[in-house]
Symmetry: C2
Subunit: 335 residues, 2 copies
Amino acid sequence: MSDRNRRLVLAERPTGMVDAETVRLEDADVPEPGPGEALAQVRYLSIDPTIRTWMDDAPGYLPPIGIGEVVRSGGVAEVLSSNSERYAPGDFVFGMTGWQDYVIADEGERTLQVLPPGVSPTAALGVLGVTGMTAYFGLIDVGRVKEGDTVVVSGAAGATGSTVGQIARLKGAAKVVGIAGGPKKCAWLIDELGFDAAIDYKNEDIAERLRETCPDGIDLYFDNVGGVILNACLARLALRGRVVLCGAISSYNEHERVAGPSNYSALILRRGRMEGFIILDYFDRFPQAQAEMAGWLAAGKVKAAEHIVEGLQHAPDALNLLFTGGNTGKVMVRV
Amino acid sequence: MSDRNRRLVLAERPTGMVDAETVRLEDADVPEPGPGEALAQVRYLSIDPTIRTWMDDAPGYLPPIGIGEVVRSGGVAEVLSSNSERYAPGDFVFGMTGWQDYVIADEGERTLQVLPPGVSPTAALGVLGVTGMTAYFGLIDVGRVKEGDTVVVSGAAGATGSTVGQIARLKGAAKVVGIAGGPKKCAWLIDELGFDAAIDYKNEDIAERLRETCPDGIDLYFDNVGGVILNACLARLALRGRVVLCGAISSYNEHERVAGPSNYSALILRRGRMEGFIILDYFDRFPQAQAEMAGWLAAGKVKAAEHIVEGLQHAPDALNLLFTGGNTGKVMVRV
């Protein structure tokens, strides 16, 4: 181990995409674990769209990251030394590590958790982590997916979207349609993940392709993007259709107020429901969902798509990948 | 009775408010009741915002009114002569009478229904009719109103809104706030109907007044209007807040595409739900709801506010009242 801790701190609030001015690399002492604490070295960072929202000085489900604070981020770390019975050197732990080399684990409630046996560090951040849980609870609990449903998911080649489509199939959806950017991602959704159809929003007419692929309407739309795609899906909602609001990635870098979905009134005509959720609320139920997901993974029924970026210093670029659509699957940084 | 049947037929589709060109007064023969049919004279017409939507050539929950067809409308009629055991002369019947003097009742499923004993013709169209049922099922079934809720309703001085506020109180809401146009309506909501507060959207800053009247956020917002008021209420949604979409009266006369609610993403942060409904779906459950409502009426716990316009020929003006806000309570035409 080094005797220095590299930390990426928020230097100024971005107005659009994160750039060279947004974060600053700081060199700090490696923290000393006190009584009941352990020192862990960060191995992987989970790169999620929500990190971008925490950089804004706006009310959210968590407070904004302060200027000069380490960028808040999920991650997996390996315990190096421990003054706690909860942690042993060599253990992998996951939770909020931040964008830095070293982190202290303590014995509090909201601290880092030891990875269950058999779970790889990247799976802990991806399909078995917050990303996979977001797909699971959003689709099953909020969306109440049921047999025979026509399910559409946007951001379908992303970490959450790719998992949503696969779980929908396992839960009996009659048709699974993904919306993604570019023919390569679309082909991947169909060929590798077993989606029935994919819509390339960069090159195709979304409304027309939704008509073609969902002739009887959309029973469940899982929205990761907001904007024009949300609006187009609302217009095709089936009777008693459900819209699960997971995120609005199309707006996170927008400085201006984003237009709302003008087709929201389809919710009246179609007796539809649009509902948002925050995965933190489901934390207590993760173990049961992780057990089911682990079973699917082991049986090859769910594929974990991972997109690894090398080097802590590239975390900001990795974050931007989510917004340019440069990734396929879960983006992580190997520190 | 006259030997002529005056009928208001749709002459051309309006682009904004209904005007002199929209409907045409026709003079037709009084229809002859056949076997199993009865002839009834229309006494009251129910004037509802939805009539305006049926005049557009756009897909809806019912087909558009055809050019040359009698304007579709709810109403109450009195049976004059009958060839059916279901109807006796002197019976009052309610259902879709249309804007005309005479109507035929038959023995089909979707025909006119005889008014239950003790129910006045105007109550049958108002609190005990589709209007009251809309308030009842929207608030209780879709909105799941519960004790301690802070409830906000727009179009609060209208037929549905005024009933929503009163039922919310009866169901244990801690606070009932109405949004209406003008100080007179606002005073009426508080003084006559027992609302806790009223916001005059024509003269007050809606967002500011929502902050004042709902310091802990809105648990349930019953939306009759859409537009900027819906957007302002979304911004104040409490955790797990619910938005019941009943109508969007602010848009029915708009020719241009109306902007969507840009604050819809509050549904994510606040784990909120926005759901639409159409009252026709609840038809089978009307009797139970009407029984409860009749009890409240008899006990003076719900006041039926009625706004009567005289004369069939004024039905188009009566419809426009809903959009100019010229009414307080349920608009009906005495034919």
